[in-house]
């Protein structure tokens, strides 16, 4: 009970839990940036590295976390949760995982706050670092880009796992007993990603990694088109252009760095006891729970999106954060996107797909290559990739695309081999060119995908052409055979002598 805890220990414990919560959020969000994280060890303690771990603080994330906590600490029945979700370029979103920092009533009265609790919280943070890289959302976040982005949302209160779908898995990262309760850190993650992939294939069939702004020069310092909303850009703390973010003064509190070598009473099998829920602050907690919107971004669809400015070529630790205001529940609708302040996909009033169509219809893969070897035969599946035939270019849909309002990917063109029919269902298709990572299309007019496809279907050598070769062989035989026979008959004696010599 609190009466057994000295005021200094209570103060220290509250501070430890507060900064542990803030660091937990930082670790989770930074693990979903889509980039590898690298921090340096330092043999000399700086006093600002909580739990003796080099975890950088992204000011916006700290701000969001503090806003969500609103001066509270995770307590019994009031957990701090970080929800990670995915949002596609079409506006579909899906929750991927929920990380929960909870406190239960089991107390460990005999544990030393100043070292043991601190040390165990440090170990728990290390475990969090390791586990954030092994959940399925990590791989998705590393591949985020223009097709989808990863968002996070911090809320305080009751844990919500409804959005994780059926069959979600739970991982308990660890527990730390304290004199006021047991801190538990866990993660629930979605296992069923089929919903997302089905919806993707309803609209478009990307071959792989399609970047929709292929034909749009990205603005300087960012790969986002200029007509998108304004994000809150993050600058690394050591950047000259970085500005101190309001409200981070608390994070400058010096963390505990000195420990005593007098034998600590580290009782690892200490007794556990239960204590009744805290009465102090209950009213305040209820108030917070009754008005979650005061501490949350309202609505499940909201969140703060994070996306590195340069998903493939980033060398700096740039983080693009976009603060989404309240949106209606049906924010999967493109219209809502255009009205909300949501960054990545909100555009000018025109439908982003249509604007992309207008751009991509000008040039598309396989369209303006007169030496293409892809035929136009529309009777066979995958006919577009068949060896070159004798069809004229006039009938080649690759050269003259059908008058569909949207463009199709090459795979779609071959699957829907009737050309312009079914254009209604192709309205949402966007024909884009495949641009592999690290490719430079300004140097080579042909990209890797095109080269590979053409390489797979080289034209047949003329000399190996069956009818030509067989015809030429037959002609040769017919023309030269009589002469050869005449020569052999004239020299028959020589041939006989040669044969006798061999025998």
């Amino acid at each position: 009970m609190d009466s057994d805890l000295s005021p200094q220990d209570k103060k220290d414990l509250d501070k430890f839990i507060k900064f542990f919560a803030l660091k937990t959020v930082q670790v989770i969000v930074q693990a979903r940036l889509g980039e590898k994280i690298c921090t340096r060890s330092s043999s000399t303690p700086t006093g600002s590295d909580w739990f003796n771990l080099a975890i950088k603080d992204i000011p916006e994330v700290t701000h969001e976390a503090k806003k969500a906590l609103a001066g509270q600490l995770p307590g019994v029945g009031h957990s701090m949760c970080v929800e990670i979700s995915l949002k596609t370029s079409e506006g579909d979103s899906m929750e991927l995982e929920t990380w929960c920092l909870e406190m239960n009533e089991k107390c460990d009265k005999d544990i030393k706050v100043s070292y043991t609790v601190y040390d165990r919280l440090s170990v728990l943070l290390k475990s969090l670092l390791a586990v954030t890289r092994v959940t399925p959302a990590y791989k998705l976040s590393r591949k985020q880009g223009h097709d989808y982005v990863i968002l996070y949302r911090i809320y305080f209160g009751e844990v919500q796992m409804r959005g994780l779908g059926e069959g979600f898995q739970t991982v308990r990262i660890g527990v730390v007993g304290t004199p006021v309760g047991t801190v538990t850190l866990s993660c629930a993650y979605r296992t069923n990603l089929a919903l997302m992939s089905n919806r993707q294939f309803e609209r478009s069939v990307p071959i792989m990694g399609i970047i929709v702004d292929h034909f749009v020069d990205p603005p300087c310092g960012s790969q986002r088109p200029a007509n998108m909303g304004q994000p809150c850009n993050y600058r690394a703390p050591d950047d000259d252009h970085g500005e101190a973010f309001a409200g981070v003064q608390d994070s400058q509190e010096v963390c505990t760095t000195s420990f005593s070598t007098s034998p600590p009473s580290q009782l690892y099998n200490s007794r556990l006891s239960y204590q009744p829920p805290l009465l102090a602050g209950t009213t305040e907690l209820c108030h917070t729970a009754a008005n979650p919107n005061q501490t949350l971004h309202a609505g499940k669809e909201d969140g703060v999106m994070l996306h590195p400015a340069q998903p493939y070529h980033a060398t700096d630790a740039h983080l693009t954060l976009e603060h989404m205001p309240n949106t209606p529940a049906s924010c999967g609708d493109d219209d809502n996107l255009s009205h909300s302040g949501e960054g990545r996909r909100s555009a000018s009033p025109s439908d982003p797909v249509e604007s992309l169509n207008a751009l991509t219809r000008k040039v598309g893969a396989f369209v303006n290559k007169p030496n293409t070897r892809l035929s136009a035969s529309m009777d066979l599946p995958f006919a577009a990739f068949a060896p070159r035939g004798l069809d004229s270019e006039d009938n080649d849909p690759m050269v003259h695309p059908p008058d569909s309002p949207s463009c199709m990917s090459p795979l779609q063109a071959s699957l829907h081999s009737q050309g312009s029919e079914g254009s209604g269902q192709h309205d949402d298709f966007v024909m884009v060119d495949f641009r592999p990572a690290f490719s430079k299309d300004d140097l080579m007019p042909m990209d890797l995908g095109t080269f590979y496809r053409e390489f797979q279907n080289p034209p047949q050598l003329a000399s190996l052409s069956l009818h030509i070769s067989s015809q030429s062989m037959a002609d040769d035989l017919v023309d030269s055979l009589p002469e050869k026979l005449a020569i052999y008959e004239r020299n028959i004696d020589e041939f006989d002598a040669f044969v006798d010599m061999l025998q």
């Binding site: 690298c38 590393r142 420990f259």
Partner: protein, 218 residues
Amino acid sequence: MNCRSELLEVTVEARQVEESILSLLHTILLHRSTGKFHYKKEGTYSIGTVGTVDIDCDFIDFTFVRISSDELDRVIKKAVSEFKDALSISGNDGIGQISLEFYQKKKSRWPFSDECIPWEVWSIRVNVVNLANEQERQICREKVGEKLCEKVINVVEVINRHEYVPKMPTQSEVDNVFDTSLREVQPYLHKITYQITDSLGTSVSTTMRRLIKDTLAL
């Protein structure tokens, strides 16, 4: 006090041996290392800061976190490389087991040497398989990645039980508990040993040789 022992088993291709073992050893060492201790007067000490680095595996769809210490990374890589070479020499059907043992030193009086008392041993048993084609290799790449994810979670679960770890030593005894030879970080005293069993069942063990050597050194 009994030594805590944990066994992790992985089935990998030959080219995945090093990365799979490194990922698990580094995950364990991440939890079993602290910053450098700086002892002050009045019996207090401060602890340095530990950085971390994300490492993407080349042959496995997997990313793990290791401590930001090139010195420690070199030591671990050297040991794993020796194990991998021994495993490949033993032939394709060999099974290998590499162990990371954390121990404490207990000072003994002359002429006896210091006693090493293990308090935690992590053993990784490696089964090497041969795959016939690229498609199987691609599947293996993903499957091994998933298996390693499970192993990392297993490691984390064991460590967060907060069972016995040596208590924090005084300045005079810090070398009995921690490896203070590294510049930036301070892992618990540890050693890496391995054992190869080839298809004939014969066992080549570095541990046995070391025991005999230690006995003869008395």
